[in-house]
């Protein structure tokens, strides 16, 4: 019973703000766990800064959030398109089958050693958590990792005492599924001018790819799909979407979730912010909010360092060795690249080939659908891949073979999702451009948009 109560609390905690952002009952329910995760993260940051109680900070942040919602809900707002009950069922139902992996026992190594250990010391309050984050005995646990996934579990454990691992597993899984579901919504939005069935199929295809290279992590208590799906969803809405800054709340939420979920997200989050700034360079006054997630993610890294949090992976020797030509560092390069290739080589080569063919023959159809340039996605993928290579070659504090074997499948999820999103957008351009002559003239065929316009006219 406790795990189900935890899920209800996770949805209920973030639901008011999620509804304010989306003005859709079902999309708000899908988004609410991510809002709860960000809320719990802010409570952890406040608690650590003041050495206060986590329960008190969680209550304060929740009440502040609900007051904000009560104030802002009085203003009229239009519902987001592409979130009818049929859309939401299309996003959620196909995820049900792979989500059944949550029935596996909660015994994944990193779930215990990282995310639930952090959650346990967060529950004990600010002074206790600050001590443990800076303690050498916990460097194995990467105490510098951002707090979102652990904060959500700590919130559940605060309300439902007993440190149930099943509760922790379900909360983490709900966060992952929420991010994957909102990623599906993002794909549906950017392909919204295509026929609805095709656009929904595209959304589900990209969402299901989240189980590709590391299927055991989605429901195992890990957070790799959480930040990867959130990042790719934000990238889709901000870089492929038409007028991305007209309704920026959902993509900014996704970008914030990515920045507060894992260290390796910071480079791609920074990439997205830079690329959005470049894309919207004629609209710079409205771009600044995309830098807020960058500041939050970077701010957490600096804050954690001031508390003494360090990871056993990062070593000054490896970093210096990169610039002094240290053979021990450079010998790590070929196996790292080989491991990356072995995970996603066929997928990436195929997606690049599809992109090149698409660029040659489908540009007009893509433009007519209002889908932004594919180069944005590949720029993020290249920057992220480069950051991964940097981390693996400079992490001389751990054996490379072990490090690659225990993590490469998980850290490749964002590359996999970006490649799938690229290929799917070209596939939609090909099919929609061939089947629907209206698309050539850029006319939307989405009934949601019609109802939205009608609603605006009425209200």
């Amino acid at each position: 019973m406790k795990p189900l109560i935890a899920i209800v609390l996770l949805v209920a905690g973030g639901y008011p703000l999620a509804f304010l952002l989306t003005r859709r009952w079902l999309l708000a329910a899908l988004t609410a766990p991510l809002v709860s995760g960000v809320t719990a993260s802010l409570a952890v940051i406040g608690m650590l800064a003041t050495e206060g109680s986590f329960r008190v900070w969680l209550a304060v942040v929740l009440v502040a959030q609900w007051l904000l919602v009560a104030w802002r809900l009085r203003r009229p707002g239009s519902p987001l398109p592409y979130a009818t009950w049929a859309d939401i069922l299309c996003y959620v139902l196909p995820l049900g089958l792979p989500a059944l992996l949550v029935l596996a026992p909660p015994v994944q190594w990193d779930a215990h050693s990282i995310w639930w250990t952090h959650a346990a010391y967060f529950v004990q309050g600010g002074a206790f958590a600050r001590h443990d984050m800076g303690a050498a005995g916990y460097f194995f646990s990467h105490p510098d990792y951002p707090p979102l996934a652990s904060a959500a579990v700590a919130g559940a454990w605060s309300v439902l005492p007993g440190y149930s691992f099943r509760v922790a597993q379900l909360v983490t899984t709900a966060l992952n599924l929420s991010a994957i579901g909102v990623l599906a919504y993002a794909v549906r939005s950017v392909t919204g001018r295509a026929p609805a069935a095709l656009s929904r199929l595209a959304a589900v295809a990209v969402a299901l790819a989240a189980w590709g290279t590391a299927p055991y992590t989605v429901a195992g208590g890990l957070s790799d799909q959480l930040w990867a799906a959130a990042l790719v969803g934000a990238a889709a809405l901000l870089l492929l979407g038409d007028q991305p800054l007209a309704r920026p709340a959902v993509p900014l939420l996704l970008l914030t979730v990515a920045a507060l979920s894992k260290n390796e997200a910071l480079t791609p989050v920074l990439s997205v912010a830079l690329l959005v700034t470049l894309r919207e360079r004629r609209n710079l006054r409205r771009v600044w909010p995309v830098w807020v997630p960058v500041l939050l993610g970077g701010g957490w890294m600096l804050f954690a360092r001031t508390l003494g949090a360090r990871s056993e992976l990062t070593t000054r020797k490896g970093f210096i060795g990169l610039f002094t030509g240290d053979k021990a560092v450079y010998d790590r390069l070929p196996p790292t690249v080989h491991a990356m290739q072995s995970m996603v080589n066929i997928l990436v080569v195929t997606a690049v080939a599809v992109a090149l063919v698409g660029w040659a023959v489908l540009r007009r159809q893509r433009q007519a659908l209002g889908i932004g340039s594919d180069l944005w996605l590949w720029s993020i993928a290249v920057a992220y891949a480069a950051s991964l290579v940097f981390v693996y070659v400079t992490a001389t504090g751990v054996g490379l073979a072990w490090y690659l074997a225990t993590s490469m499948d998980r850290v490749m999820v964002p590359i996999e999702l970006l490649a799938c999103l690229s290929a799917v957008c070209w596939a939609v351009s090909a099919v929609a451009g061939r089947r629907d002559p209206d698309v050539e003239h850029g006319q939307p065929v989405e009934s949601d948009q019609v109802s939205e316009l009608a609603g605006r006219a009425a209200g």
Binding site: V107, A120, Q124, A135
Partner: protein, 81 residues
């Protein structure tokens, strides 16, 4: 360790060391880090701090042989001073 074994080991530590004390882990030959990491996790749940120096500890935690226990061992905590 399966879920039941996780819970059992956690209770063993919780039952032997009262909250707000510090423990030193005297776990030898832990090449995989299994016990170091699990006891570290269970310590946070029991509101115990893990210290790196035995002299700073209130309790020393080690693994005792017990053929009937998970993986043949049980958590043993003894007062350090």
């Amino acid at each position: 360790l399966d879920k039941a074994e996780f819970d059992l080991m956690r209770e063993q530590l919780h039952d032997q060391v009262p909250p707000d004390h510090s423990i030193y882990m005297d776990v030898r030959d832990d090449w995989s880090g299994l016990w170091t990491q699990r006891i570290g996790e269970f310590a946070a749940m029991s509101r115990l701090h893990v210290v790196a120096d035995r002299a700073d500890a209130d309790y020393v935690v080690s693994l005792g042989r017990d053929p009937s226990a998970p993986m043949g061992v049980r958590i043993v905590a003894e007062a350090a001073r």
